[in-house]
């Protein structure tokens, strides 16, 4: 078979099982693809040219399947930089829980993907190792911070990728790159070993070619971790069992507030998607939610505050790089967070932000009394051109405006591709569910996806 790198997890697994090809062939196919397209895309910080499959047990769910890991997940013996020069020589002595679980499931890690340095941003332009390009148009941004992960999947350099989202860092780049990105409920997937950004928000999750693949990966990653005290005690659901369920009678909430300032092209594609879902039996219900811009202020304060503390350990004494290696964006965030937490300002900023956060949480709880899920555009625009984030310190927050409220509330959300702009750039919508409703949002997203052909389009590289 040609182009093994194009396969989904599902298909790769079937092929391996049928012995249509070996995992060595699958891995080589991806590595060759990486070699061929990386000069254009630059999705990876580190590629494991020697990657091989060690897993023997044929029943392992990801046995021999190549996966890329965002470079803010610790990987034992494999450089982990968070795309910052501060950690350019850091080789972790331990695996993040997510990585350990993937390895135990038989996955083969063949590279670490680029991100905005410390995951600060929505463009990968703050990476100290160069900007990743959008595979659909390399003059455009892939989004971020998991831009390398999304691009690696969109460019078929890999079968599936792992990203992390604090507020938008999975869904936003998945949207701009035209792939599926799932941000689970906060606490559903362990943060242990993920270089901390904003600890009260960080959520690891999959970026994949199909919704089904996202469910397969979540099935492996979800669950309580004795090494992360914030993981939820609830036992994980079977995320695959409801994928094929019909969505007849499902109540979909659509908040007008999430369409303000959205470009006409994005609005049109999302409205088309809603029409299709209606045709599949769902009920579309207009709902009111707080304007997303309120979330921006809350998010900015909480995130900067936590960042200022989380980056304190890189004090120049260890890791071999001094603090001069911090980029502009990280320095800005450290200063803003330090200011917001300073004596006399705490109440005005941090404490107030926490209160508004509670209000936003309650706003969603209220909405989910009326509807089962919420659908909205993932991004106000399609992928912006290279350089768009420069000299715009709030770029990330503006690009992530539509995903920030649900992140602040710790809710699960998934980006599903739903067409292209006239310029050929992908458009997606997000399905947001109540806490721990991953099974439901995967079901809705999957039903949409199997009734459309967008996933079959491939960028020309």
């Amino acid at each position: 078979m040609n182009n093994l790198y194009e396969l989904t997890i599902k298909k790769a697994r079937d092929g391996l099982k049928n012995k249509s090809f070996s995992s060595a062939e699958l891995i080589k196919s991806c590595l060759d693809r990486i070699k061929a397209v990386e000069p254009k895309i630059h999705a990876f910080v580190t590629v494991c040219d020697e990657a091989i499959n060690y897993a023997k047990d044929e029943n392992l769910p990801l046995r021999g399947i190549p996966i890329s890991i965002k470079d803010n997940f610790c990987t034992v013996g494999l450089r982990t930089t968070a795309s910052s020069n501060v950690l350019k020589d850091f080789i972790p002595p331990y695996d993040a829980t997510v990585v350990a679980k993937l390895k135990a499931a038989g996955a083969v890690i063949i590279g670490k993907t680029n991100l905005d340095a410390w995951a600060h941003g929505s463009s990968t332009e703050t990476s100290d190792f160069g900007t990743t390009r959008n595979p659909w148009n390399i003059e455009h941004l892939p989004g971020g911070s998991s831009g390398g992960a999304a691009a690696s999947v969109a460019a078929d350099e890999i079968i599936a990728a792992i990203g992390s989202e604090t507020a938008g860092s999975i869904r936003q780049p998945a949207d701009w790159c035209g792939v599926v990105g799932l941000k689970p409920t906060y606490g559903r997937v362990s943060r242990y070993g993920v270089v901390a950004m904003a600890s009260s928000l960080d959520s690891p999750g999959p970026i994949t070619k199909t919704v089904e693949d996202a469910a397969i990966i979540l099935q492996i990653l979800a669950g309580k971790d004795s090494l992360d005290a914030t993981t939820l005690p609830n036992s994980p659901q079977d995320y695959l069992k409801d994928l094929d369920k019909k969505i007849t009678g499902l109540k979909i909430g659509v908040p007008d507030e999430y369409f303000d300032g959205v470009t006409e092209q994005v609005r049109a594609r999302v409205e088309d998607a809603l029409k299709l879902l209606e045709k599949l039996g769902a009920k579309i219900i207009k709902i009111k939610l707080f304007k997303p811009e309120y979330a921006i202020a809350v998010y900015t304060i909480l995130q900067r505050a936590e960042v200022s503390s989380n980056l304190a350990r890189y004090d120049g004494i260890r890791y071999g790089s001094t603090r001069e290696n911090f980029g502009e964006e990280a320095k800005r965030r450290i200063m803003l967070g330090t200011y917001a937490l300073s004596a006399g300002y705490w109440d005005q900023y941090y404490n107030k932000a926490q209160k508004v956060r509670t209000v936003i949480v309650e706003d969603f709880i209220r909405a989910f009394k009326e509807v089962d899920i919420i659908i909205a555009p993932t991004n106000p625009t399609t992928a912006l051109p290279l350089g768009a984030s420069k000299d715009n310190p709030m770029f990330g927050e503006m690009a992530d405006a539509l995903v920030e409220p649900s992140s602040i509330a710790g809710l699960p959300g998934i980006n599903v591709p739903c067409g292209f702009s006239k310029e050929g750039l992908p458009v997606g919508f997000q399905v947001i569910g109540p806490q721990l409703a991953e099974t439901l949002i995967l079901n809705v997203a999957h039903q949409y996806q199997i009734n459309t052909d967008w996933r079959k389009e491939k960028p020309k590289l």
Binding site: C74, Y94, R191, A229, E306, S309, A343, Y350
Partner: protein, 440 residues
């Protein structure tokens, strides 16, 4: 001029839990090879996360309850942000506005209550050693559980402070939650001292750090009272500052002024969910509190008719109290006679069994065998009859001596003078004058 000292105290007590506060590493760091008790968590490596030690939290609550504190059902951890090379994360996980225990007290012997403002849980830092131009960091101590106990400024003299500290040390030892060994740094003391003339609290406060003995804390307070009196007598106001104790020169020296004071930028630790107790859990911890020194003191006086000074000595440690009660228990001899015997003879409770004490005290009224010649004969017999005990003693097992003394006691129906018998035994054994070592 005459001023009244206003003294408050912060005490850090290190808990003797098996593992550290937020990871599984051994908390037994003293004297261990540097950086051998470490992991990603206590090294603060990228991505590592803390998981709280349940036992440490329970012990902290137990200390609070023993100090008559209220224990709110809701509590949380906060980050205390500051830079120091011994602090691997750039912040210490501590508790800010909602500590585990609040509003307790310790009553001094003069009846005065020293109010305790709070008792909270935090983690220890690593340890820096400076050798010439190099500084070395040992992270074995990083993350060891620490309980901080803060009083109101209720002390008026160093004598009161030292009494409070001894009581506190005794309480945590009775609870079995800390060795409270000053020399090993299990207990660290930070008094803050100021002087007042009126009833109002002074407008400044001098904190003294790095004190590692009760004696030095007394000296440091005396020194500060003298120093501050001189400044006030000159009509000046002492500076608000942090000073350190120099135990070579017996003085305090300025370390940090008010202007350099830290802003710790506390905020709730997002890596740890808040702590929520039920009433049942708290009373469960309360039920596990053993009899405390004050209660034991009162009971010993009442139950055994001891006078106060006897009771004080016999309740100083849990070990001596248990020893006394074990000796009294068979009911063979009068508790007061036992008390006097233990106290007057300065009995080493690790060497003399309570059976011996009973025998000795009983023997006093019926003629003790104290004749050296007679005892020597009996001891030699005991040595001949117990070759195993002799061999054990020779191989370093000091306890084997007990077996031999026991044998002598048996021969004399408990009437041998145990102390004399011990001396003779030791002398003979060390000389090697016994069969097993005869040259054949």
């Amino acid at each position: 001029m005459n001023y009244t000292p206003v003294i408050g105290l912060e005490v850090h007590v290190e808990l003797k839990t098996k593992s550290k506060m937020f990871c599984g590493c051994s908390a037994d760091y003293f004297g261990k090879e540097p950086n051998t008790h470490t992991c990603p968590v206590c090294l603060g490596l990228p991505g590592a996360l803390p998981v709280p030690n349940k036992k440490a939290i329970e012990w902290c609550v137990m200390i609070g309850l023993a100090l008559n504190c209220t224990t709110p059902l809701f509590s949380k951890f906060d980050r205390k942000n500051y830079f120091y090379p011994d602090l691997p994360k750039g912040y210490q996980i501590s508790q800010y506005d909602q500590p585990l225990c609040i509003n307790g007290f310790i009553t001094l012997s003069n009846g005065k209550k020293i109010r305790i403002r709070r008792v909270h849980m935090e983690e220890d830092t690593g340890k820096l050693t400076h050798v010439g131009n190099e500084s070395l960091i040992d992270f074995n101590r990083s993350g060891v559980p620490l309980v901080e106990i803060v009083t109101e400024p209720d002390f008026e003299s160093s004598i009161e402070v030292v009494e409070y500290l001894k009581k506190l040390q005794q309480i945590v030892r009775f609870l079995g939650v800390s060795n409270a060994d000053m020399e090993k740094g299990d207990m660290r003391l930070e008094p803050n001292i100021s002087l007042k003339m009126t009833n109002e609290l002074p407008k400044y406060k001098v904190e003294v750090k790095n004190i590692n003995s009760f004696r030095f804390v007394g000296k440091a307070i005396e020194y500060e009272i003298k120093r501050q009196t001189e400044i006030l007598d000159r009509g000046d106001m002492p500076e608000q500052e942090t000073r350190g104790w120099n135990d070579e020169k017996n003085i305090t020296v300025s370390q940090r002024s008010k202007e350099e004071a830290h802003d710790y930028r506390y905020f709730p630790e997002p890596d740890l969910p808040p702590i929520r107790f039920t009433e049942d859990q708290i009373s469960d911890i309360r039920n596990r509190i053993p009899e405390l020194p004050d209660e034991k003191l009162a009971r010993f006086q009442k139950e055994y008719q001891l006078n106060k000074s006897q009771a004080v000595i016999l309740t100083e440690t849990k070990e001596i109290a248990d020893y006394f009660e074990k000796t009294v228990k068979p009911g063979k001899v009068d508790p007061i006679q036992i008390a006097n015997y233990i106290i007057n003879k300065k009995i080493d409770i690790n060497k003399v069994s309570s059976e011996e004490v009973i025998a000795q005290v009983a023997g006093k009224t019926s003629g003790i065998i104290a004749d050296e010649g007679e005892l020597g004969k009996l001891v030699k017999e005991a040595i001949d009859e117990n070759p195993k005990a002799v061999a054990d003693f020779k191989s370093g097992k000091e306890n084997a001596l007990q077996v031999l003394i026991g044998a002598v006691m048996k021969k004399t129906a408990g009437k041998a003078d145990a102390e004399k018998a011990r001396k003779i035994l030791t002398k003979l054994l060390k000389r090697g004058l016994f069969p097993a070592f005869k040259v054949r």
